[in-house]
């Protein structure tokens, strides 16, 4: 076995021109047959560590390299990237730039052709079949969705039939649905094709569900390597690295000690485990719970009804009437994205647009900016019909924050970028307002850096700053938490809340249900170019069919609350902790329960629990 492993021995590495070592005395051993997650905070050196496996370090980046890395017994210094890549395949985080040929098949054949394999065609065919893309072999890369492109990159690696496959942050650039599909694919490769899979990952919920082993990289060294369930229970270590444990683990940690543990005394990491743990615990606590039952839950329900009535009376800020819009495409003719859509958005709405890829979320946002005019129907923003106004004029009150923050950086530092709009519009106190925004969003330290060279989380923050500097009434955000690690994601939620004090309406298009659950008060589900649901989050999360149609993945806490038999889903961990601790259904959860009367939620739970017993 010893030959089939990656062994890192006391490795220290410093990038050329770098001030300090990125890796310092790292030791690690990954054996053939593992499914291992490498985690660590931003800048902890995890990507650097993984780039030593295929020799990119030290062959491509020739910094100071001490210690050794052996792959299947070969010292990487004595081999080269080309040869090592036949054993260790690498899918980059920025996979789009890894695809260098114009069609899918060409790209997958590219590496086998470079190595002069006679069977390059069969290799490509096999690899494409492995990732399930055989049908798309003749498509152009740019025609594919992000998720499909990721699979092509994976196929390109598999065509070399490597023993180890390293995938750098698959969930960072993909929406949750695609990320899950990618993980399913990786699991299949691991189980059926005997690949050793190494993922660099922030999302602990994926680690809990798919990985066997877990490596924590911290300050350039390997802090520990543990089985995934054990590793995910080392909450303090994880939090120190800004990695958020799975929601269920957080819940188990927050409730009184011993209430939610699995057999060996640790906290659960998956919904399944949490369900089991909480069943047994709550069964014991059953009596206590029913005693605590019966708190009011109608208050918040009334509140939300009031809000709705209020909204109906007020003038809508944004109105869409019978809107149809589409694009010409190369192969499929005209693609009708929106069809006969009617929608009113009011002041104070916190709107989340959700829906599967291609359901028209981004198109809808772009129509609101006036960058595109609807083919049919009318779009009115703040009383101005977008057909009659230039996007520049609409931008006086509306701001659109691009899905990819890079597209918003037009200057060479963040400060100039934030001031760009103000300067162009001849605002009088540009400098003061820019400073104000910088302070408001904690951007002072980044103010003089080039936006393009910052981390994604920082970029997102800067792009929000660029948006807020325009003092908008309406803020449109396209996938604000896309490609963000959880830390930055939490920041975004915070910023959204901050932004609310300054603007009237915020509309986000998102796949991220944790964000929707924690922030929105109105969820609009788009499907097939039209609105199929428009309701508060809890109601939407209650409808499994709807979620499936919208390609949404329930957050763990929602799934758990469903399994535990709560009548309406609990949306955040805090609410869940409260519910479990007090044995009562909290206010927020019930805001959507249409015909839920007081006292039903928890007694039901307890009843079921008793029956179970």
């Amino acid at each position: 076995m010893s030959a089939h492993s990656i062994i890192v021995d006391d490795l220290t590495f410093q990038y050329p021109g770098g001030d300090e070592s990125v890796l310092q005395g790292a030791d690690l051993r990954i054996d053939s047959g593992e499914f291992t997650a490498v985690v660590g905070g931003n800048g902890s050196g995890k990507t650097t560590l993984c780039k030593t496996f295929n020799g990119l370090i030290p062959h491509f980046f020739d910094g100071t390299f001490e210690g050794s890395v052996r792959v299947d017994g070969t010292d990487t210094r004595e081999s080269d990237v080309g040869d090592l890549s036949r054993t260790v395949g690498y899918v980059f985080q920025d996979f789009e730039n890894q695809l260098v040929q114009e069609t899918v098949r060409d790209d997958v054949e590219f590496a086998p052709l470079n190595y002069g394999f006679d069977d390059y065609e069969e290799r490509a065919t096999r690899a494409l079949e492995m990732v399930g893309l055989a049908d798309l072999a003749d498509r152009f890369i740019w025609e594919l969705s992000g998720g499909q492109q990721h699979l092509v990159a994976l196929a390109g690696v598999l065509a070399m039939d490597p023993e180890f496959v390293v995938v750098d942050e698959p969930a960072a650039q993909l929406d949750p649905q695609n990320a899950q599909e990618t993980y399913e694919r990786l699991r299949w490769l691991h189980e059926e094709q005997d690949k050793t899979v190494i993922v660099i990952e922030h999302h602990s919920e994926f680690i809990a569900e798919y990985c066997d082993e877990m490596v924590l990289v911290s300050d350039g060294g390997v802090a520990w390597k543990e089985p995934a369930q054990v590793g995910l229970n080392r909450l303090d270590d994880l939090r120190a690295e800004n990695i958020h444990p799975p929601q269920v683990t957080q819940i188990a940690d927050a409730v009184p000690a011993g209430m939610a543990t699995v057999s060996d005394g640790r906290y659960p990491v998956t919904v399944d485990e949490a369900e089991t743990a909480l069943w047994s615990e709550s069964a014991q606590a059953g009596e206590k719970r029913s005693a605590a039952t019966g708190t009011t839950e109608s208050t918040s329900q009334n509140q939300s009804t009031e809000e709705n009535t209020e909204n109906d009376d007020g003038e809508p800020i944004i109105t869409l009437r019978n809107v149809g819009h589409g694009y010409p495409t190369l192969r499929e003719g005209y693609n009708q994205v929106l069809d006969g859509l009617d929608l009113d958005l009011y002041a104070g709405d916190r709107v989340a647009l959700v829906g599967a890829n291609g359901s028209g979320k981004s198109t809808l946002l772009r129509l609101l900016t006036g960058l595109e005019s609807p083919d049919e129907g009318t779009v009115t923003v703040l009383g101005q019909e977008t057909n009659d106004a230039l996007p520049e004029e609409l931008a006086d009150d509306t701001v659109y924050i691009h899905q990819n923050p890079e597209e918003m950086f037009v200057e060479d530092n963040v400060r100039k970028d934030i001031g760009y709009y103000l300067k162009n519009r001849g605002a009088d106190d540009v400098e003061r307002r820019v400073e104000e925004i910088l302070t408001y969003l904690d951007l002072e330290e980044l103010a003089d850096r080039d936006g393009r060279l910052m981390s994604l989380g920082q970029q997102r923050r800067a792009s929000l700053g660029i948006g807020l500097a325009t003092d908008p009434t309406v803020v449109l955000l396209d996938e604000p938490t896309g490609s963000l690690d959880l830390q930055s994601r939490r920041e975004v939620t915070g910023i959204l809340r901050k932004a609310e004090s300054r603007v009237e309406t915020v509309v986000i298009a998102s796949h991220d249900l944790q964000l929707v659950a924690g922030w929105a008060d109105r969820v609009i589900v788009l499907d097939d170019g039209d609105v199929i649901a428009d309701a508060p989050p809890a109601a939407v999360f209650d409808d499994a069919e709807l979620l499936a149609a919208a390609d949404l993945r329930q957050p763990q806490v929602v799934e758990l609350s469903e399994r535990l038999g709560f009548d309406s889903p609990l949306l955040t961990t805090d609410v869940m902790v409260e519910a479990i601790t007090k044995g009562t259904a909290p206010d927020v959860a019930t805001s959507a329960g249409d015909d839920a009367t007081p006292d039903t939620t928890v007694p039901n739970t307890t009843q079921t629990l008793r029956e179970e017993q």
Partner: protein, 319 residues
């Protein structure tokens, strides 16, 4: 403004698809069905042939044939219109430029002939001399204007002289448009590779094709970013020229961030190329052979070359 909205409305989405079709959708294109080596050599040949003709009529016939070829190769109509527009404005430029230059030269000659007097006048700052100097300038301008107006004929003649030249350039441009939009990038690079062009270059071509749609999207997004953060000129001017100028400025500005973004992308690409064994393959004859093995020259390739040469010979003899 309505013409502007019409312009921006048709353009972006349709233009993009049209360009994509030109560059990528070439399964039915005539030229794509031939062996790439033959097409490349044929192209080189037809870059030279137009220069052998001097009269307008045969050149026009060749141009018509080139357009027919372009139509068969599904060249973007927008590109063709742009090309023609460029050539026509070039010719128009001559009509204006020749008389103008003539006028300028005459006027300048007149001025410099009297320059000493002029300088004296200015240095002395004596009103009477100044008046005289003013007279000299006025006379020179008058002379210049006169020449400019009377040499309209010269302008038209100049155009007559350059028309064949422009025709030749247009023929070459249309042919190369047809070839490069009809042939798929794989075929072009395959053909070049077999003809001994270095791998790095053929790879660059294929990579360019891969990245182009991405860059188009990104460029569009950047322009939009600029638009949403800029202010339109308050007065749009006649035919909205100020507004057009503003858009033009934005579209130039948008290139800078685009270049930075491209540079950033290429960092990953270079690493990825290394892991895909690209640099290893450069010195590997087997890899080159595998890439070019399935090429074959068939009778129809040969007959295409001879057919087109025969056509040229016909034009040569009969027109």
């Amino acid at each position: 403004m309505s013409y502007l909205t019409a312009l921006t409305d048709i353009s972006i989405a349709d233009l993009k698809v049209d360009l994509m079709r030109t560059a990528y959708d070439n399964e039915d294109a005539l030229l794509n069905t031939f062996d790439p080596r033959v097409v490349l050599l044929w192209t080189v040949l037809f870059m030279i042939i137009p220069w052998l003709f001097y009269d307008t009529l045969p050149l026009v016939t060749l141009l018509a044939a080139a357009f027919a070829l372009a139509a068969l190769s599904q060249v973007s109509k927008y590109l063709l219109v742009l090309l023609l527009f460029g050539q026509l404005t070039n010719i128009g430029f001559f009509v204006v430029m020749v008389p103008l230059m003539g006028g300028l030269v005459t006027g300048w000659d007149d001025l410099s002939a009297n320059s000493s007097q002029l300088i004296d006048g200015v240095v002395a700052f004596d009103p009477s001399v100044l008046a005289e100097a003013g007279g000299i300038v006025a006379a020179a301008v008058g002379e210049g204007l006169n020449t400019a107006l009377s040499s309209q004929q010269a302008g038209v003649e100049a155009v007559g002289a350059v028309v064949p030249f422009f025709l030749k350039l247009t023929i070459i441009s249309v042919i190369s448009l047809a070839v490069f939009s009809a042939m798929s990038p794989q075929k072009i690079s395959q053909g070049m590779l077999r003809l001994g062009v270095p791998r790095q270059l053929t790879f660059a071509i294929a990579y360019g094709y891969r990245m182009m749609p991405l860059l188009v999207e990104e460029y569009h997004a950047l322009i939009n970013s600029f638009r949403l953060r800029s202010k339109v000129p308050e007065k749009k001017g006649v035919l909205s020229w100020r507004y057009l100028l503003y858009l033009l400025k934005l579209s130039i500005k948008a290139f800078y961030p685009l270049i930075f973004n491209v540079a950033k992308r290429s960092r990953v690409t270079v690493e990825a190329m290394e892991t895909k064994g690209f640099s290893q393959s450069l010195s590997d004859p087997k890899s080159r052979k595998l890439r070019t093995d399935d090429m074959m020259i068939r009778p129809r390739d040969v007959s295409f070359v001879f057919g087109s040469l025969l056509f040229v010979a016909g034009v040569w003899v009969f027109l």
